[in-house]
Structure formats: C-alpha cells, structure tokens
Symmetry: D2
Subunit: 297 residues, 4 copies
Amino acid sequence: MNAGFIGLGNMGQPMARNLLKAGHNVTVYNRTRIRAEELRPEGARVAESAADACRGDALITMLADDRALEEIFFGAANLVSALGPNTVHISMSTISVALSRRLAETHAKAGQAYVSAPVFGRPDAAAAAKLFIVTAGASEAIERCRPLFDALGQKTFVLGPDAPAANVVKLAGNFLIASVLESLGEAVALVRKSGIDPARFLDFLTSSLFTAPVYKTYGAIIVQEKYHPPGFKAILGLKDVRLALAAAEAAAVPMPLASLVRDHLLTAIARGQGDLDWSVVARVSAENAGLKTDADY
Amino acid sequence: MNAGFIGLGNMGQPMARNLLKAGHNVTVYNRTRIRAEELRPEGARVAESAADACRGDALITMLADDRALEEIFFGAANLVSALGPNTVHISMSTISVALSRRLAETHAKAGQAYVSAPVFGRPDAAAAAKLFIVTAGASEAIERCRPLFDALGQKTFVLGPDAPAANVVKLAGNFLIASVLESLGEAVALVRKSGIDPARFLDFLTSSLFTAPVYKTYGAIIVQEKYHPPGFKAILGLKDVRLALAAAEAAAVPMPLASLVRDHLLTAIARGQGDLDWSVVARVSAENAGLKTDADY
Amino acid sequence: MNAGFIGLGNMGQPMARNLLKAGHNVTVYNRTRIRAEELRPEGARVAESAADACRGDALITMLADDRALEEIFFGAANLVSALGPNTVHISMSTISVALSRRLAETHAKAGQAYVSAPVFGRPDAAAAAKLFIVTAGASEAIERCRPLFDALGQKTFVLGPDAPAANVVKLAGNFLIASVLESLGEAVALVRKSGIDPARFLDFLTSSLFTAPVYKTYGAIIVQEKYHPPGFKAILGLKDVRLALAAAEAAAVPMPLASLVRDHLLTAIARGQGDLDWSVVARVSAENAGLKTDADY
Amino acid sequence: MNAGFIGLGNMGQPMARNLLKAGHNVTVYNRTRIRAEELRPEGARVAESAADACRGDALITMLADDRALEEIFFGAANLVSALGPNTVHISMSTISVALSRRLAETHAKAGQAYVSAPVFGRPDAAAAAKLFIVTAGASEAIERCRPLFDALGQKTFVLGPDAPAANVVKLAGNFLIASVLESLGEAVALVRKSGIDPARFLDFLTSSLFTAPVYKTYGAIIVQEKYHPPGFKAILGLKDVRLALAAAEAAAVPMPLASLVRDHLLTAIARGQGDLDWSVVARVSAENAGLKTDADY
C-alpha cells in the first residue's frame, strides 16, 4: 500500500520502518527532518511538507499529544483539506477522546474516512512489530488498512464503528497498567519493610497468580529500582492518566484509583523524577513508608 | 504421614479430602461435627476433641479467622500444651501477621515447630489440589511436611525461616487481587458509560496485556455482574484488606489503594451486599457512575 | 466612578445594583439583554455592545466561566482593543489561573491595567454587599478602584502585584470550603448511623470548636438534607474543584483531598443531582453508608 | 464532691488540679506515683492503689488509651468490683466506641452508673478549665457530676442516655479537626508553590470565612512550620483516626477522608516525625509537592 506517516518519535520511527520492511511505499514526515532522513536508506520517500504525506491510501499520524495533532490538522498545515479523497486517516497516537471525536466529525463532514487505532506496547515492541492495536471506525476502512496493521503489530482488535471508542479503550488500558504499578509499589513497600526479599515475593507472584507480562516487566523494574532509562516517562504517564480522567469526567464516571495514581505521578514529578519510568510511582510508596531508595540516577 | 486437621469449612474440607486421597492418615476435627463425619467414609479418623487431633507428624489448622484460632490455641482447649513434641503446627488460614508472630513465639518457647503456610486459591482450586502455598518457618520442618503440601497444591513456595513473613505475603497477594478488582471496576464503568460493550473490552484485555487468570476470572464476573454465588464473600474480602492494613500500619507503611478498596468493600456491605463475591466492588464503581446495575439477587 | 459591568448573572446583577446604589455611573452589558434592562430603572445605562461598556474608569467582568470570558476578550468582540487607555479591567469571576495569567500578559502588552479580584460569598452576600474580595495587580490600579470594591464587599484584601495570585487564593479558598462539606458529610454519616441525632451533633460542633459560618450554614443544609434550592450548584462546584486541580497540576502539587471531593461531586452529578447545592457531596457519603436519604426533590 | 482521679498525664494532671482548686476532695492515682505526689501540696489525697480511688461520689479515668483502661478495669486491679455502689464512673479519655460499649454493659450488669465524658481541648485548655465536655449516660448521673464538669470545662454538652455515643462524637470531632489539618496542608502547599506568601493567605482566610479557632491555631503552626513542641503528637492523632475508622467500620460507614488523613499521618510517622504535632500532615503535603521543608528539629 501507499501510506503517509507523520510523527517519527520513539514509537513512530520503528513503526514506519516496519511498514517499509513489509514492502509498503511509505512517505514520511517529521517536524525535525533528520528523523525522516534516517529512513530514506530503507526506502522511505521523505515528504517536503505534512500535506505532501497525505495522498496515499492511508495517512498514519503518530504524534506526541493533542496539541501536535491539532496544530497539524487544524492549524496552518490544515491537513483536513490536504487529505486525498480516498486516503484513510489512521490516528495511532494516544490522544484525548474529545479530540478523536472532533476528528471523527470533521472527517465525516469532509467525506473522509477516519480510523482510530491506538497501540499498546513500548518502543521495543514497536520495533519488533509486536504491538497490540485497537481499531474503531468504518469496518470497510479498517479492512482496507489491515495490511498496514499486520506489519505493525501482533494482533489487531476491531472494536466497532465509533472511532473515539478505541481511544477510550486505550486510556482505560493504560489506566489498568498504571493501577498495576501503584498496587505493586504499595505491596513491595509492605514486603520490604517487613524484612522480606522483594525479589522472592515477585518471583512467587509471577509464577502463580500474576503471570501477565505487565507484572513481570514492571515488577522487575520496581524490585530493582531501575527507573532509568525510562520505557515510558512519568510525565507521559501523567498525560495519559489525565486524559483518562478527562474522558471519565465528561462521562460522569468517578475513578478514584486513577486520581490516586495521578497524585503519585505528580509527587514523583514534583521531586524531579518526571523523566524516569512511570513505574517510579512505586518509589513514592517506598518513600512514604520511610524506606531508603536509590534516588541517585 | 499422620496428620491432624482442624477446620473443615469451604476450603478445609476439600483440602483434608485431598490428603486422604494421597494416602495420608488424617484425624479431622471441626466444631460442627457433621463436617468431620462427612469425611469418615473416605477414611478419616474423626477426633473427639481438638486436642485429639494434635498427635501426628503435623497439625494443620484452617480456621475462619484470628478469633477461631486464638480460641483453640489460647482458650480452654489450649492446644499449645496438647501438641505432641514432634508435631509440626502448620497454620494455613489467612490470619493476622500479629497472631502469626504470637504463635511463632509461643511455639518456639514450647520447643515446638511452627510453619506458616497460607494458600492462594478459591474452593474449586482447593478441591482440585491446585492451590498455591506460601510457606515460611524452619526449613527442616517445611521439608518434613512437603508430602502434605504436595497433596494440597500445585506449587509450594518456600519463603524463609521467619514464619509470619508468609502471612505478609498472603495479605500482600490478596491486596494485589483486590486492586485488580478495583481497577477493573473503574475501567469497566468508564467503558460501559462510553457506550462500549464491556465484554469486547475484556476480550481485548485478556488476549493482550492482561492474560493472567485473575483478570479472566474476575473480569468475566464483573462484566456479567454475576456476583452470586460468591467464590469469596465481600465480608471476607474486607477482613483480609483490614489485616493487610493492620500489618502495614504496624510497619508504618501507608497503602492508599488498600484504603480505597476497603472503603468500596464497606460501601457494598453497607448496601447489603456483603454476602456477594468481593468483586462486587465493581458494582460500587458502576453505581457511583450512575449506571443501572443488576442489584436484584 | 464610571464603570462598565459585563455579566449580570446571579452574582453579577446584585453586584451591579450595589454599584448604582453607591452612586457610581454604571454601564451594563449582558448577553441576554433583559438582565441588563432590569437595572435601567435603577439608573444603569444599558450598553449596545460589550465594547460599549469598556470606556469608563473601570470594566468589571463577572462571567460564568473561562469560555465566556475568552469569547468576549479574544473572540469577535475583542475587548482588548476596545478597552479605553485608562480603563482598568477588574476580573471578578472565578476563572482559571491560566486564563488570568493570559489576561495579565495581554493587558500588560497593550499597556492596560488588569486587576484580578475574585469574590467569596453566595448571591445573598452579593446582594447585601457582604462579599469578601481578594485583589491582586498593580497597587495603584487597585487603589483607584477601591470605591467600587467598597460598594461591593465587606472587606477587600490586597494580595500583591501578581494578578493571577488572587485566582489561586480564590480556588484554594473554595477547595477549603469543599473540604468542609466532605468532612461534615462523612462525620454526619457516622453519627447518624451510630444512632445519634445529627442536629445535636452539629449544635455541639458549632458552639464549640467549629464556630465559623461555613460550618453553621452548610452543617444545617446537610443535617436537614435541604440541597434544594441550591446556593451554589454541584456542577459549578465541580468546575471550581477542577480549576483548583488544574492549577495544582501545573504547579506539580498533588491535592488528594481535592481529588476526593471531585470524585464525590462527580458521583452526585452522575446520579442526576448536579443542580442541587454542592453540599450534596454529603448525600454521597450517606448513600455509601447505606443510609436512607431524601433523594426526592 | 469526693472524687477519685486515675491517670495524671498531660491532660489529667491539670484537670485534677482544677478539681482541687474548685474545692473538691480528690483522691489521685497514677501508675508513675510521682505525678500523683505533685498534687499533694495542692490538697490531693494520694491513693495507695487504683482501687483506693474508687470510693467517692465519682471516679474519673483519664488514661492514655484502651489498653491502659482495660488493664485497670478488667485486669488484676479489677476496678469493676472495687467501685463503690454509689460511685459514678466518668470515663474522660479518648477510647474506642467498642470499649465504651463494653464498659457500659459491664457497669450496667453490676448496677453501677457509667458516664462517658470525653473532652475537646489541648493541655493549655485543660489547665485553663476551658475544655469542651461531651457527656452521655443516665441523665441523673450526669447531673450529679455537673459540679465536677463545671470545674473542668467551659461548656458541658449532654448528648443522651447512650454512653458510647459521646465517644462517637469525640472521634467524629477529632476527625473534623484532622480534616482541617489535611485541607490546610494541601491549600498551603498550592499557595506556597504558586509564589504566594502563606501568612497572607492565612490572614485572609481567618479574617473572612474561616474564623474558627481551629483554623487560626493550626494555620499558624502550619504556615510557620512549628511542629515542635507538639500540642498533640502525630502518633496520638493516628490512634484517634484509627479509632474513628474502627467505629465507622463497625457501623459500615466508609470515611475516605479519614483514610486519607491516616495515610498521611502514617507517612509522617514512617519518616520519623511521629513525635511532632499532628498538624505535621501538612509537611507531608509540602514534601509531596517538592517543597523544601524545615525538617530539622
């Protein structure tokens, strides 16, 4: 397929590379052009402008946040008008439900296809094409883009026709991961302060009831206090929890556990740890329990 | 081996049965004698008194709570003095860390072996000998009792010499499960109120990031709102969270997520739902979001 | 003095009336013109447009929220350019710290004076000229406007030169009131469920340690469950708590009690009680305790 | 009147002294006898044993906690049997509702009068006879003891015939004070981090909406960070919040704000600040916001 790809950050660049590897023709664009040029040897066409990436079968956006996407779609570049009549916009970034709703309405008015397709997975999963992709939108458009999804992830889940629903699921999923971090942080603090080796505790957990990878991956980081280098920074974690709380507030759904995680992320950020892995919420629990922590990094 | 078994409730009776099946000689005792008699056809010897069950290689206690165990050990029956010199006391109930500490000290003073060995698993896992067992105590005593553990569970984890540590791990583990219930409850409320089919949401979760059985089992209960019959009642869940908070308070460890779960369990109980499965905390989240719930049972 | 007044809602209209009573020349503007016309018999000049109210010694804005103020200042009306060179903009609405900051910068660039002067008090206090006014901005501008403040409130507090600081204080103050509501709600639930007459409990409190009016006023509402008619609606309370949380997040300050109040306000709103007085958070505590409440209104 | 007085700590000793000043005959007892001897020059009779203090018109107990009172009433001393037939037991310590219930039942069975009369006020208020006293029990017994209450406090509040109700009110009142500490702590952290002088903020608050002494007293401590010397230690504050939570749990009343205060008190204690004034919860908020605090004491 012919695809445009805007946003070549830690996630976007390996994703675009996987599309190239799978044989797709990819036109890439990034505000900082060097990230785009890095893909030229692998066959990418480097776009001169964002609009220049909007004329294939699909345009994938993988930008940092709402603001970046808004600027490109509703700002000077005005991609809504640049988008080809048969180009599906696939929004894969983690954005707010409200912005996804606005995009859905804007594209619908312009007669354009819009698929929301946020992903689960850290940069290493993106590089290994092991992402989990949650899609929502017109099923015809989703099916048309399936070869792209197949090149990016290990599993593509089709949710239904309402595109913003995929964003809700993405935010709810991230909230569940954040909850695991908080619960592990508190449990490990209790265990450590009771004189038990936290590595043995984790070993037991992950070989019995909590076999899911999320417990193994984050459990190891927390037990070893290896919050650097970050797989996903605390400041980004806060952004996602904020988006979950905003979606929940708009729907009048109290989420006290999300509020709790938010407060612990804020504490970590206030203490200058915003650039560490977001599992650093566990260090907040440790510090609140008076435990010594390896706060030098 | 020759083993006594005191406490034949929903968990204890199938556990004693599995010991018999494995060929051990088991002397059973239960306050309500009929539960003991039910095991006679399967080869159990029915004790006339609690003390009567204390003279084998090991005595397993599997009682409802601290009070039941205290009454039998420190009350009129005074099992500490009844216990044979070579009989290991294996405490398998979920009890407080403080009581486990007291038992450890009492048995040590009396020159008796004490192994703390709480279990993870619901009654069906007990019946299938699929429990996870966390043991702590003198390693020689644990090894001596291993044939009993092998007959009861799928995996026996040895933590170390300090018996009460096993109780900390048990309470920390239950706290982690409770955290899963709370997080699923909030996420499902958000998803439902956003017009998304919660069954599809759960299907995605458990086939991607959250593959652990605890998400599958409880996720299904929450999505279907099948809180009856209970696998583990809300009032018992509250007891365990209370024990976790007490252990944490004694160690000066704040556990705000445990406090949150406690408050939601209390809400369910205040609304007359204490005998439903403890995953009913998810209904509290649903009700707080103004969702209609299937509150008739 | 010659003053413009934009925004004649439940608070604004009685405030403008008090300026007229005190002998000031007031030009009033309101989107729904009838609210402005109601003040004509009392001597007000009714402006034809918002810009028409911007040419006196001062322009007071008392609008519903950020959006209303943004529309009038940065939208089509563009009051920044309409404002006379010697007209002080006095912003008295409860707005976000971020918007106040933006106004401060915009006015500074345009060489205009900006005073932030949010008020404490419900509509009856506004009518009785008993408001408490917190001002911040250039002290010369504040002093120039003092005759206006004197006509509106019982006390004007000067905070300092940084205008948005007054908005922080307003939001922090409202948070403290909200905290009183939450704490009274929980305490009254405990007392009621313990079989104690809550009116006697309140009587004791307010005649001993908690003599402040806020305990008397809200305590009586909560004890009598008279959430209708509202003095300040739950949906507006949620707005203010949200603004406090946003200001705190921008400053990296976790405020878990604000999060808790937010969640209880959301619960009340989710249950269709958003138009009741914001002290209805106490009913959430009552319902969570399984108490019967007078939920018919 | 002839009164016995057991428990001469920071509160008890000045209270006993006030009884003497008012002309009552007081027999005092304290485990550490020196505290009793100190009152001899002021006219106190020093008892040889606790039982020795039980034969007047009334016996006042003002002990540290449940355990101290239990030991003296149900332990070796067995005051229930020592109590004279016409001696009213006035329990003035802050004890659990459950123990107060047990005392009420025990005294009723023995045909003895029991009045629960916990007090509000710090040691300086005790010395100045400015305590607030909440009483419950048989009204005849309360009236008989009124001369004692008049010598101890500025106001005696009669709640009703059910003695433990006074303990509920005491715990609910302390919870309300703790809530003020928490809310002030969070608000001051926000204000400080926004660059506002917290003293000016407090000045505004306490001269407008929050005129109650509790805001003035604790606000000053928090703004000046003068947590030493303590008026009421954090470890005692935790005890009282724990008792409130226990009473609430027994009545199935969730109190999330009490849980929050508990967690912040635990954090302060875990950081070695348990002997500071309980308003040190405000320092936890400051530390969580990344503010520098005066943690050297």
